[in-house]
Structures are given as structure tokens and as C-alpha cells.
Amino acid sequence: MGKLFRPRSQTTLEHIIFIMKNIRNFSIIAHIDHGKSTLSDRLIQATNVVSERIFQDQILDTMDIERERGITIKSQTVCLPYKAKNGQTYFLNLIDTPGHVDFTYEVSRALASCEGALLLIDASQGVEAQTMANLYLAMEHELEIIPVINKIDLPSADIERIKDQINDDLGLDPESAILTSAKEGIGVEDVLEGVVNKLPPPLGDPGAPLQALIFDSHYDSYRGTVIHVRIFQGKIKPGDVITFMSNSAVYKTEEVGIFQIEKVPKKEISAGQVGYIIAGIKTVSDTQCGDTITLKNRPCKTPMPGFKIEKPVVFSSIYPVASDGYEELALAMEKLKLNDASLIYEKDSSVALGFGFRCGFLGLLHLEVVQERLEREYDLSLILTAPSVRYKLVMQDGSSRIIDNPALYPDPAGIDKTLEPFIRASIIIPDRYMGTVMKLCLERRGINITYQYLTNNRMEMIFELPLAEVIYDFYDKLKSLTQGYGSFDYEIRDYRETDLAKLDILINSDRVDALSQLVHRDRAVERAKHACEKLKDEIPRQMFKIAIQGAIGGNIIARKTISALRKDVTAKCYGGDITRKRKLLEKQKKGKKRMKMVGKVMIPQSAFLSVLKTDND
């Protein structure tokens, strides 16, 4: 293990300055799958911050979903002690960032806590949309950037081409790029040396009033909320009474420390350092990413810039499949919320599905992650309703309403106009897909603003698109149309007027509230047909005919019929057949627990979920 610098009881100013000079705060930014997690793991291993056993147990096995999807949802921050070639020991704070467009704000707060960043580029994939988006973010924060070309061991690696892209697309010096294969452990030391030599140490005055930026927080079942901070000015120690500048909430500091996979308590942490604060805060929702912490009795003059309260943009209701599953779901949501401040929810109810929750998410991926965690970690079977964006309605009487739930959509006669959120999307593709992508975006009511060639056959297209179109299978379509080569990033722009309609699904004339969707009127027929077809495929034939209809108000716009079962009888049932038959009945009974009744019609869970699926699944 590298030698840890442990301050003596008396922390002199020289000491602190010595620490600051030997601190580097940095992030790794990359497009999905370009190897960020692997490189992080290698850096952690190379600095021996933890034993190999703990490494296996705690790093590699944390959160299956992250590993499987190759994305980081909950960032890990770690302080790596590194003895550099110049003989000095440095403390390299690697601040991990969530790797998806839904979490851009969190990424920006993490980057705000750094002085530099490693920009990781896959040696065969090259520059992608998120590479660009993250680079822009890093540049906004005036970070020193070191390009790292990863996966150089792959046969398809083309280092020269990537260097050209770094020069042409990113405007960075290709000669400064470090070559690595995180998987093979190649170039790891070069990266560590690069961090030490090319990135600047933090600035700040340990003697000034405390100014600490919250860039993340997580829930610890023993200690409550652990706030991840970067100290910009001053210092903090246990016993200090602190206040959050956004809401003036006051807490007493119980413990401060740094992360070395496990929490390592310290007597104090001070300007330039990255670490944690525990202050008896119950849930992570009581802290806000981007907020500034200062001392109550000696506050700093201004908070760190860039704070905003994050608002969910995608909404969906979650119901348990089991009719008695609400309590269990409620408990699971509560636990999940402890660690996920951006998840918001409230109780919701449906005629078809009973009690559940209306939830707000930062994006579609966030939604999927929450769904998956509920199903895996809490072993729940769920039904989700069609994701919706948040619409602004201006009513005839001049009042305005915000609607994200079809169940609450008012009588259209009372609506004067409806506004929907628009995004600015950046799509990077090989130029042979230009026509296909253009067609897709125009179909999705996109407006092509600009495009530019990044290299002689790669281009970036900028569109303005309604968010509602993007949360409906856009990303999957883009991926399949571009055979995986298309990459996508977005930011929310503004609200624009739209022509909205509420699409209802009727099953044998009963409206199934959980299947209603808010859709653009031009897309209503297509969506209605899609829903009817999917339901027809998923609802088993029953003893009577089942009519599935899509309707806007009283107007039927799509229809499918499931013909009645004509017979369902086992002809022979004697001695040996009886056990077999009973086992079949038992299996059916089990399956039935996953069914919902609408009138007399049994609808399986899969039918509710199928409506959300696209045709190319």
C-alpha cells in the first residue's frame, strides 16, 4: 500500500500548502463503453489503495446494472496515493462521473470539482457524441484536458485516425495523447504521471471561510447521508456547525474524511481536498447536488456558481403486478429514494392496476435503471405506464396547468394551447447514415438546424426535437438504423406550442386508464395501431371475443379483435393424466397472479409492457 499522508495533530499552514501542491483532482470523461470503468479500476489497482480481495469484492461487484450496461449510475470517488517518478507522493482524487446524457448536471458538478480531466477515446470507435458533449462541459469549467486513446490492443485500433480526430474534431493537441489499453494494463503509469505533471494542483485558501461544493451524496445505512464534497476554500472538522446555502438548513458535522474505497475519517479536510461530510442528514434528498456548504458562524460570501434544482423530465407510473404488492413496492421505493435524490414519486392509483406510484425521472435511462433496480434488488414484478414528458397547458380562462399524467388531462374544450419541451440533440454518425438519420428526425418532428463534418466521413447533426419523441424508442431506432455507429446527446431547450391529444385504449369498451398516453395528434393513429397490435399479440384468447380499440375522445382511430376461444377442454383424463393436469392448473394459477382484470378480460403483465415496446425489439 502506498504511504498515506496523515496530518499530525497540529496542522500547520505549510503542511496544508504542501498537501495542496501534491493534490490533483480529476475526472475521466468518455463515451459509453470507451473503457472508463476499466481504466478507473486499473488506476485504483496500480496505486494499491486497497487490497486485491477488497478490490474484487467491493469494486468489481458493486452494482450489477452498472457493470452490465457499462454505465456508471452512482459515482465512486477515490483518493489515490501515488509515488511519482520524481520521488514525491501525490494524492490523486479521481472523481467518477455518471456516464449518460440523463445525468449531465451531475457530470457538470463533478467536473466543477476538478482541475483536470482525462478524455478517454476508444481507439477503434473514435470521437462520439458524448465525447464531444463531455469535452464541451470540461471546457466550460476550464479544465486541463489530457486525451487518452484506449483499447490500443484491439486489432481494429487506428491510432493515427483517432489522433486526427483529436486534432480536427476536438481541437486538442494529438501529441499530448496517452496511449493505453486499460484491459491489458498498458499505459497506466503514463496516465498517473500525466495527471501529476500536466494537471495543475488546486488553488484555495485554507484560512478563508468554508466553501464546499456538493457534487454527489450517497446513503449509508449506518450513518445516513454521506455528502461528497470538494473543498474550495477554508476547512471543516467534526463539530463544525454547517449550513447549506440553497436552503439555509443547519447541521452539525459528525465526521469528515476522504474516500479510499472505504471511508477514511480525518481530523479535518481543507481547501483543495475532495472528501466526505457526515452530518446526521437522514436522506440524500435533503442534500442537493451543486449546493454549497459553509460554516454557520463564518459563512463565505457567495455560493459556488452553477447551482440549480434538478427537475425530472420523464414521468411514468409504476404498479406492482401482484394485487397485494403495493406495500412492498412502497417500501422498495422508499429505500431506493434514500440513495437517489433525483427520483421523485407520489402515490398514484389506476382502476386497472390498483395503487402504485407516479414517478419523475431525469430521463429514459434513469427510468430504466430504477425499474431494473426495483425488479432485481427488491424482486418485484412491475407494470410501467407509457413515459410522458411534462406539458404546459394554457387554459381558455387564462390559467395554466402542468400535466405529465394522462389520467389528469383535462377536457380538451377548456384548453387554449399546449406547450411541450424541446431538446437540442447532437447526433454524430458516419456520413453514409445522413439520409436515414435525417428521415428519422424529421419523422419525429425534428427541425434540422445544422450539420458539420468532423472528419471527411464523420459528421455531427444538430436537431431540435420534441422530448416526447425522444423518450419513445428514439435511441433504439437511432442505434439500429446506424448499425450502432450513431451516438446521441441532448439538452433541454425550451417549450413550444404543440397539438396534443389523449389516446385511450378500450378493451371491450372499458377504458384501461393505465394504457392512456398523451401523444401528438399527427402521431395518434400510428401509436393507436401499434398499441392495438401489441395488445392483440399479448392478450390470450378467452371464452369471448375481445375488441381492442384506440380512441381520442369518442373517436375510434384503431381497432383489433381477438376472436373467441372456440374450445378449451382436455378430452381424456384418467388415472395417470390427473397429476399432469393438476400441475398444469397450478402453473396457470401462478401465471394468473401476473394478470390484471379489465371487466371480464384477463390482461397479462406482458401486454401492458408490450405497448411500450417498439417493433424492432
Partner: protein, 339 residues
């Protein structure tokens, strides 16, 4: 197990496979042995299954002499094309001959098995089968809808698309036609697929399966049932023989039915019979109030014409329309959350 039965047995059944490959004298020995070991009533129904074309008049007479009083003949169809499709080795002539011979040998309780819903079959050809079979005036008729069992050559061919199975709507018509035709010709339907000339000619043996009576099965794969236990013998003939030789019961597996499982079986099997579920019996057996438990369901099913309450409400049975949907309806009368 063998010696400890206080039960009085009143049926013996040789079937499942081709028991007629045994010499009648050997069957006679089995009957004698059984009589020595079990308490068997004097008017026991003794049935043997035979395939057309496998029995001579002599053999039939011998059957009669050793005490067999009921013959079940696997005719399946009176159409040679269909017999061929089913892979049967006999012809329609063989079938007619066997029925006549059985009569001649003095059997006054003859059962005939037919199958319908065979690819290529039309309502007309099926009706013609029914017409022919009725001419022989059998005491008992079993008419089975063709089913495709997993792992059978027929099912494989179906999956390979070698033929087109009969549509569900046509099968339903066949089923209804069968009920109508046979009732019109003096037969009483007493179970989904079974008809008798009169109440005394129902298959006493088969009926026991549906009323939860105890039975003992001998031979490979045979099932035994003594509520709440069910046993079945090992499939392999070799293993079966080995077990017997070593003085062990050749049981492959047994199950002890929970209350919930008993209920499932009683409801499912009860609804197969035209006299339906004996509500008093099920209430007493399970300690429940069946009517109360399913009042709403039963009312709805009655309104929709699937269920009848018969014998002044003491029995709950399926209507003809309901019988077509036995497998859908039975689960509605079973409890979901029950130990």
C-alpha cells in the same frame, strides 16, 4: 400395502397398452390371484381393452370363461384413410368383425372408442362414423377429441407443418354434433367424452377416477390413488421387474395432495361429469362452503350459460356449452390463496 386393504373392490380393468397380447389363461391367473389377495365383490366389472384384428372368436370365448364381462374396443374410426393417418394397423372391416365376434361370444357390455378432430375429417365423415357405430348398438361409447401430446410422432409432424390441424371452431362443432347425435340415439352422456346406453352401463371403472374413489394400479407407469396419496410405478419394465423380484414395491414416486390440490382435482374432475360436483361431498371432504366461496362466480357462469345447478342445487355441473370450456372454467372455481 397389499395385505392391509380393507377396501371392497368392484372393478378390474386390463388396459393401457395391449393386454390382448397375453394369453387368456394368464389373464385368468391374474384375476384369480387378485381374488385371493383382495376383497373383490362377486359382481365385479372386469374389462379388457382389445384392438380390432387382434382377437379371434376363441380368444373372446376364453375371456368370457375366465370371468371378463366387459370389452372395450379401440375402433378409433370407421374410415380407412383416417385409420391410416392415425397409424393404426387395423382396417374398418377388422373393427366391425371384432365387434360382431364379441357379441357372438356373449358379451353384453361392449364399449367402443372413437377419435374425432383428425386432419382431413369433415363434419360429414364424423357423422358417418357416429351413424356406423350406433348401428352396432354398443353399450358404451368414448369419443375423444384428437390431442397432440408432447413427444409423439404426430405432434412432431404437426410442428413440421406436415398437415393442418382441424380448426378450433370445427372441433367445437364436432364436439356438439357428438353430444347431439348420441343423445338423440338413446345414449346418456355422463362425462365430457363418455356415453352409455343407460345408467347401468357406464364404465364403473373409469367413473371412479372422477369421483375421487381409491384405486390400485399394477404394471409399469400405473397409478394408484388412496386419498390423499397418489403413487405411480416406474415406467421402465426392466426396473419394474427388478423391484418386484427384490420384494420392493415398484413405486417411482408418490404425492400427498394438499387441501388446495384436493380441491383443484375435485373441481376439475367433478366438472367433467354431467352430474357435476357433488357440493355436499366437497364441502364435507374439505370443510368448506363451496356455494358461499364461489357465489358470485357461479352466478355469472350460470347467467352466461356455462354452468347449471342441478338436482335441486346439490350439484354444480357444466352445460354443453360449458363443457367445451372446461379447462377455462374449472380454474375459476378454485381458490387462489390457500395453503
Amino acid at each position: 400395502m397389499v395385505s392391509s386393504h380393507p377396501l371392497l373392490f368392484d372393478t378390474l380393468y386390463f388396459g393401457g397398452g395391449t393386454p390382448s397380447v397375453l394369453k387368456p389363461e394368464n389373464i385368468g391367473r391374474i384375476i384369480k390371484t387378485a381374488n385371493g389377495l383382495f376383497n373383490i365383490s362377486t359382481d365385479t366389472e372386469i374389462t379388457i381393452e382389445v384392438n380390432p384384428g387382434t382377437v379371434t372368436p376363441e380368444k373372446l370365448t376364453e375371456y368370457k370363461n375366465i370371468g371378463i364381462n366387459r370389452i372395450s374396443i379401440g375402433v378409433q374410426s370407421f374410415n380407412d384413410k383416417i385409420l391410416n393417418f392415425l397409424g393404426r394397423i387395423h382396417s374398418t372391416n377388422d373393427a366391425a368383425l371384432t365387434i360382431r365376434r364379441a357379441r357372438k361370444a356373449g358379451f353384453d357390455n361392449i364399449g367402443i372408442d372413437l377419435i374425432y378432430g383428425i386432419p382431413g375429417q369433415t363434419k360429414k365423415t364424423w357423422l358417418s362414423d357416429l351413424r356406423k357405430v350406433v348401428e352396432f348398438e354398443p353399450e358404451h361409447l368414448s369419443c375423444y377429441m384428437l390431442t397432440y401430446e408432447k413427444g409423439t410422432p404426430l405432434n412432431r409432424e404437426r410442428q413440421q407443418g406436415k398437415f393442418k390441424p382441424v380448426a378450433g371452431s370445427l372441433l367445437a362443432e364436432f364436439f356438439e354434433t357428438t353430444m347431439e347425435y348420441l343423445t338423440a340415439h338413446g345414449y346418456v352422456q355422463y362425462e365430457i367424452s363418455n356415453f352409455a346406453k343407460n345408467a347401468s352401463k357406464i364404465s364403473r371403472h373409469n367413473f371412479k377416477y372422477w369421483i375421487f374413489s381409491p384405486y390400485l394400479g399394477f404394471g409399469p407407469s400405473a397409478h394408484s390413488f388412496i386419498e390423499p396419496r397418489r403413487y405411480w410405478n416406474c415406467r421402465s419394465v426392466k426396473k419394474y421387474i427388478e423391484n418386484i423380484k427384490e420384494g420392493r414395491l415398484p413405486i417411482e414416486k408418490k404425492e400427498i395432495l394438499s387441501k388446495k390440490q384436493r380441491m383443484m382435482e375435485m373441481v376439475y374432475l367433478g366438472l367433467r361429469k354431467t352430474d357435476g360436483i357433488d357440493i355436499d361431498a366437497i364441502n364435507k371432504n374439505l370443510g368448506i362452503n363451496f356455494h358461499q366461496m364461489f357465489a358470485e362466480k357461479i352466478k355469472q357462469l350460470e347467467e352466461d350459460g356455462y354452468i347449471l345447478r342441478i338436482q335441486s342445487g346439490t350439484h354444480c355441473a357444466l352445460s354443453r356449452k360449458g363443457m367445451l370450456f372446461l379447462d377455462s372454467i374449472a380454474p375459476m372455481l378454485m381458490i387462489e390463496n390457500w395453503g
